[in-house]
Amino acid sequence: MSAPLLELSGLTKAYPGVVANDDVSFGIGRGQIHALLGENGAGKSTLVKMIYGLVRPDEGEMRLEGRPHAPATPLEARAAGVAMVFQHFSLFDALDVAENITLGMADPPPRRDLAERIRKVSRDYGLPLDPNRIVGDLSAGERQRVEIVRCLLQSPKLLIMDEPTSVLTPQEVEILFATLRKLSAEGTAILYISHKLDEIRSLCDAATILRLGKVVGACDPRESSARELAEMMVGSALSAPARGGHVAGEVILEVEDLSLPPAHAFGTPLRRIGFGLAKGEILGIGGVAGNGQDELLAALSGERVSPRGSVRLRETDVSRMGPDARRALGLLSAPEERLGHAAAPDMSLMENALLSGHGRKALARRGFVDWGRTAAFARDVIARFDVRTPGEHVAARALSGGNLQKFVIGREVLQAPDVLVVNQPTWGVDAAAAAAIRQALLDLAEGGAGIIVISQDLDELMEISDRFAALNEGRLSAPVATATLDVERIGLMLGGAWDREKSHA
């Protein structure tokens, strides 16, 4: 390989109390698809933000095509040929596709020419897009296309992608990979960040592994196993979740003909959802984000009441009850958004423990809070779920995503639910914490509880669930035993084609 396109040497960035990047050096060649691997908090985001001009390094230097690269703003980075697709989409819901793309360009052409160029580029790369649609109406996959097309219109030399596949169906992932390979063949270098090791092995030609802000290794991912990569990331051996034999018990939760209108303008209605959940069973519900996951969780947890008779717990109709009443009967839940939904960000862990556990753990009596018991409960969650925090008095906001997630799940698990509904239990959580959470869910099911796991991570659902169903535009497919599924069939289910599938079978 000749001189690399982008060369990083000795990059260091420290924040108060933590060194996000410590003497990071590596190079990315022209047309190379280079993976950046690491757990949460390993410093991947900080590193790419420095390349993209959002953060300035304290020390070290970057060279792009041999010239010094020190962008002060993303505008300068884009002018130098660096483009970035964000993990949390940087899009404006109320604006249309063309307007969103215009905003990311330094010198946008008039709207009519731009619309034409959007159509052409999106067609050439197999990412069809209508420039006039409002972004808030698009699916997650389409929204990502907007970001990618925005980058492609500027013919970047280096494209940075931060966890691009976490919201895509397998088919969409295939399309994305085809696009990236085409770009790489044309000479565009790609810096690819992902947790999904199998993807990296099939897509990338080189990998750099970060741990605690330092480069701990480099390898050719095509010649390493996923297990080797994971162990380099974590720095220790991983244990896969273990589960015992499982016997399906009697049905504990029944959902029948559950329909709800959307709660807000960009929401999804629920359409005639029906399924049964047995004791000791884990039902995995997959689907691309925005197909009714949040709405389904709200209808099950009691945040939104549904028509009479649509949700029954042990023959009791709970569909008109609120969350507290359902909790008292043993139906517990943990929503996806950790800060602001599952936990109150500025309240301490102890107070957060009280908020969901006051009934089942008898933390409040005759209207008075028993702080001693509450603190003991919070400490119990922290100890049993290995939540890394100085203590139960710390505000929820101060915890890292993975640690707070462990706390939120642990808080519900320790209340001994009969039925637990969780949405995205391991979203944005590193491998070790994710494994711990999955193991906790498996143990809970072993103890006889019924569990519903709503997730976009298919590997996770395949690993822990007994049966699998897919949400598409607010409809739920009939649950299928996980053992009988293959990737193609899952993709069809996610795309809403299960009826066709059934009629063929």
């Binding site: 300035r56 993303p74 899009l91 404006f92 249309d96 307007e99 905003l103 808030g136």
Partner: protein, 309 residues
């Protein structure tokens, strides 16, 4: 009973009554589109009223007066801007404080100006056009500020829908985090919008004290700033809707005054509340009918922006 009310004079008076509200509401529309909720419109208007009045009286030039009013409103709004954008104070509380501060400061500044008559702002001369029946008085019989406010309505519509800077402004109001990630300058954009809103409110206030009343009295805005705020919301953040709301409010105000003068047998209290009720009712009906989300409330309205760097 309507015999004594001339339609021509009614429409002409309506436009004069509506202009201060229209100016203030247009300014607030731009501020809110940038994601900032400035509840200090009333305070900026009354500061504009006294600054405009004082400058006009001292210089003898109404044009200088309007410029002074706009500058006064903008200066006060920048106090709000610095507090909320750089010191990250709460927008609602700061806006309310701005109104109280403006009311107090204006009565202090205005102590020497009670009972004085300001230099008159003349009607523009359109030659023979002004002699046309009805249209001559209604279309061609106003002072320049009325035309400026109408031009501003169209200008702001064009700016927001068509221009690159307007798109940036809407983007900042829609998602400041995404805008920041794209390298747009969130604070600078918001500060500019706040200053523009302050200038518009000041201009509206100056119109009150120089044309509509025309004299200086303490607390003379008497809630006009608040109705301007309400009109922005009920007009779904559309310049056309703001124009409609302001003219409706002005129209019903003028009409009920005329009805009072004509001695209609409706209690005065009901007539006095009618502009508020009717304007809000009509705008609610209109905004309930249209569901074009793309023109709705900016998603980050009133939210604090703190860049992490």
């Amino acid at each position: 009973m309507f015999g004594t009310i001339s339609p021509t004079l009614l429409v002409a008076a309506l436009m004069v009554a509506a202009t201060p509200i229209l100016l203030a509401a247009l300014g607030e529309l731009v501020v809110e589109k940038a994601g900032v909720l400035n509840l200090g419109v009333e305070g900026m208007m009354i500061i504009g009223a006294i600054c405009g009045f004082a400058v006009a009286v001292e210089t003898g030039s109404p044009v200088a007066g309007f410029a002074g009013g706009a500058l006064g409103g903008a200066a006060l709004s920048l106090v709000f801007g610095v507090l909320t954008q750089f010191l990250l104070s709460n927008q609602v509380a700061t806006g309310l404080a701005l109104t109280l501060f403006g009311l107090g400061l204006s009565s202090l500044l205005g102590q020497g100006y009670v009972g004085i008559k300001p230099p008159a702002t003349g009607r523009l001369d359109f030659g023979p056009l002004s002699d046309l029946p009805f249209a001559g008085r209604v279309v061609f019989g106003h002072d320049w500020v009325v035309y400026l406010s109408l031009a501003l309505t169209v200008g702001i519509w064009w700016f927001l829908r068509r221009s690159r800077a307007g798109l940036t402004l809407r983007a900042v109001g829609e998602s400041h985090d995404a805008a920041h990630a794209l390298g747009l300058r969130v604070r600078a954009t918001r500060l500019a919008a706040i200053a523009f809103g302050g200038a518009c409110a000041g201009l509206g206030g100056a119109y009150l004290s120089l044309v509509r009343v025309p004299q200086w009295t303490e607390g003379m805005t008497s809630g006009v700033g608040w109705i301007a705020l309400a009109i922005v919301v009920f007009a779904s953040w559309r310049p056309g809707g703001v124009l409609l709301g302001a003219y409706l409010f002005g129209g019903v105000t003028v009409l009920q005054l005329n009805l009072q003068a004509a001695g209609v047998a409706i209690p005065v209290e009901y007539l006095s509340m009618s502009p508020y009720l009717i304007t809000i009712a009509v705008l609610v009906v209109i905004s309930a009918r249209g569901t074009r989300r793309s023109l709705g409330a900016p998603a980050d309205l009133g939210k604090q922006f703190h860049a992490t760097r």
